[in-house]
């Protein structure tokens, strides 16, 4: 299959790539660039494990073709910590035990980050509803919500 030139800015790094038009952004991130922190849980956009942030918005990268992401700014789980410092959301997931097997965690953290960046003042119920696109099978969500609320509180306080 003919390949197309694509330029992606991922976690601040420029990548000029040749990719087949049928490859999803998820496949490009994982297989071409080698950023395997983003997970594939369903390939149908239902579980949220592949959530990344594209131009400030959380998207399920299994539902986006790589070629359509050309020129966009993408943040993956690998790009969240800076200078060896975990992002407050990452730290909150650790403090509260907001993860177990960890497979859904990158997606949850990215989805939470987009939500908290957009509006950290949501109530627990609003966060519960807004995170409805991500599935976790281990935690029962109790500690994930604790983590998101803790991070939102910290971000509110520091902003």
């Amino acid at each position: 299959m003919a390949k197309h030139p694509v330029s992606l800015k991922v976690n601040g790094d420029e990548h000029d790539l040749l990719i087949e038009p049928r490859k999803t952004l998820l496949a490009v991130l994982r297989d071409t660039i080698g950023l395997t922190g983003t997970k594939e849980g369903c390939s149908t956009g239902d579980c949220g494990a592949c959530t990344v942030i594209v131009d400030g918005k959380a998207v399920t990268s299994c539902m986006v073709l790589g070629v359509t992401a050309s020129g966009k700014e993408i943040t993956t789980i690998e790009g969240l910590a800076s200078d060896g410092e975990l992002h407050p959301i990452q730290q909150a997931f650790i403090d509260t035990g907001g993860y177990q097997c960890g497979f859904c965690t990158p997606g949850f953290i990215m989805a939470s980050k987009a939500l908290v960046d957009e509006n950290p003042d949501r109530t627990e119920e609003e966060f519960r509803f807004a995170l409805g696109g991500n599935i976790c099978r281990c935690t029962g969500y109790t500690k994930i919500l604790e983590a998101v609320l803790q991070a939102a509180e910290e971000i509110r306080t520091n902003s």
Binding site: G97, C101, R137
Partner: protein
Amino acid sequence: MSDYSVVGKKLPRVDAVEKVTGAAQYGADVHPAGMLYGKIVRSKHAHAKILSIDTSEAEKLPGVRAIITQDDVPSGRRVFATDKVLYLGEPLAAVAATDADVAEEAAELIKIEYEVLPVVQDVMESIKSSAPRLHGDETKDGPNRRDINAKIKELSSDQEDDNSDTIRKLKAELEQYSDEVYYNISAETHNEAGDVEKGFAESDVVVEDTYVIPRVHQTYMEPHVSVASADSSGKITVWASTQGPFAIRSGIAGTLGIPLTQINVIGTTMGGGFGGRFGVIITHVPAVLLSQKSGRPVRVQMTREEEFLDGRPAPGCVIKIKTGATKDGHILARQALAFWDSGSVSGASIGSTIRVRGVYKIPNIKIDAYGVHTNKSGTAAYRAPGAPQAIFAGESQLDDIAEQIGMDPVKFRLMNMREEGDAVPAGGSEPKVGYKETLEAVADAAGWWDREADDNQGWGVAIGDWTNGCGPGGVYVSVHEDGSARIFHGSMDITGTDTAITQIIAEILTVPYENVTIRRGDTDSAPYSTGSGGSVVTFTMGNTAKLAAEDARRRILELAAERLNTNEDNLELKDGAVHIVTADPPKSISLGELAAYSLSTTGGPIVGKGSFARQPSTPALAAQIAKVEVDPDTGRTRVLKLVASQDVGFAINPMAVEGQIEGGTVQGYAWAMMEEMQYGDNGNINPGFVDYRVPTSADLPTVESVIVEVPAPNGPYGAKGVGEPPITPTLATMANAVKDAVGIRVTELPIKPEKVVEALKNNGHGA
């Protein structure tokens, strides 16, 4: 309660940073140089003869490097179907190609000719003579025929008397039970204690119902995956997402006839398992075969759809159950007849039917259970395998009895619970278990005793018991010159078990928790370890870790005595150093100094070894209370409160234990309210998250967990396995709450809104 400094504390997990930064390596993250992508070719029919498999077109596709069918399995063990397929999605062949999309294209180019056969998906249809046979014509007798045949056999062997008349009568009676000749039976199990007929006769209230529990999928978030690499010497390396690398090693060896030492299994970080990640042939064996044939590493990764078609989910079942009790609340007898849907192979958890007994003193009990073949994939364990199903039937029916005799459901349960010293049906006597403490704790925490409910609101309670397993394990611990300790072992971390092991060793060696690190070896390097399932890990590896740390401690004290010129009796290991107890001024030597000193001694470095296999476990109880509101117009049930308590023995890491309770409870909630693998005329019809709904954070409120600690005599620090119990009572908890809210006894899960609306129209009947 404890004087401990590390165990019993809510410490962050040892794998915390790798899990929140995306650094953890799961199976699909493994990518050796030159790796090919595998794809399994699956049956398009639920039951069909295979007339031909033509791979010629697929072979021509550029990028295809290997295609395998059952002809490529030298041992002849069934990996792919040959003569007939028994379920939709059954593997027929596999392809390896240079690209995942090419592999998929090639799989579609393989032509398979089928002759479609009649399909049976329902256990109650499958046992009938009219059903298509999946494996043959052998039949089994139902309970009444078994009893009559046993009597006939006994009388026939009696040489003293002429029993011919009685035998003739019994044979005539046998005819009345012709519908008890069961077909398509994969397994059976029978238990009996006391005399149930007598028990029912003496009961004031007898309730009988049939409960239907659907097949549900474990739905671990990481689909099955395996990367295999066979080198030119024949050595095979498998990166496997599995709960039990050693079981996978022996499974591959057995299936393919390869010596154990030729196989190295590297367990990758596991994206959930819940019992469903022990399968050998699902992806591991095809990956090995493809790698052997192509000479390249091969990854076989399932899609979510493939998970639903060819995973090994929890069996559904039909349980006919009957309970008798006196009007003052004593349960006298319980009988159950269960048909478990084992799919195309045997192996459903039919033995768990005995869980209908619960933790109650029931003098008379009789259980007959059958595994039944259907045109579905085989099944596997799912968190306390078989218990949620059996306990749903038992605990639902218990509430109906309580209602009929006018007794509070919590009090009714409390008064019937077995107590310490009571005879246990399986033999021996009941150990000290926090049965009552756990139920009382949840009742208090939920506000049961002064509960209030508005219209269409209700409260439900249920309890579930489970006992953790046990198995072999080995742990090494080394102490280094900087005073740190390193643990080495071979068991898969199952959401926090590495952390528990680390806490135990830090506690004993008095090394700061953050200075103890843990490494998991592969099957080539690590000591044997039992699989991480059956709530075994903290119990088994915790005990093993304790032994290893105590062994290291012995060497530490020996070295210190030598170094400090004193007797070991004068020494104390505390705060990362060995102190002479009686010395004034105080005299001590740090672990780091001792480790450095050890390198030039005759005895050598500080290495503790722990090896452990078996000790009796103690049962655990989970008790839950839900408050719900049912909308009578839409039938939708909303959870207002869900409280879960559990006797965990001792919580080595309370944060991790709470996580297990919360997660297990929500899985139970989902089985009660949402989840159901559905089957049409040609197999599974809901193989994806749109049609198979698992809960999201939007579906539930916060689950409140309550930890109860009644120590287990043989558990490390009294700990019991905590993973499985919390799923066991939730199905009944929810059903009992719905019953309390709107008067509908749902006997067939899940409690879907349409079912509730329909039942309300029929005045509470027909759910």
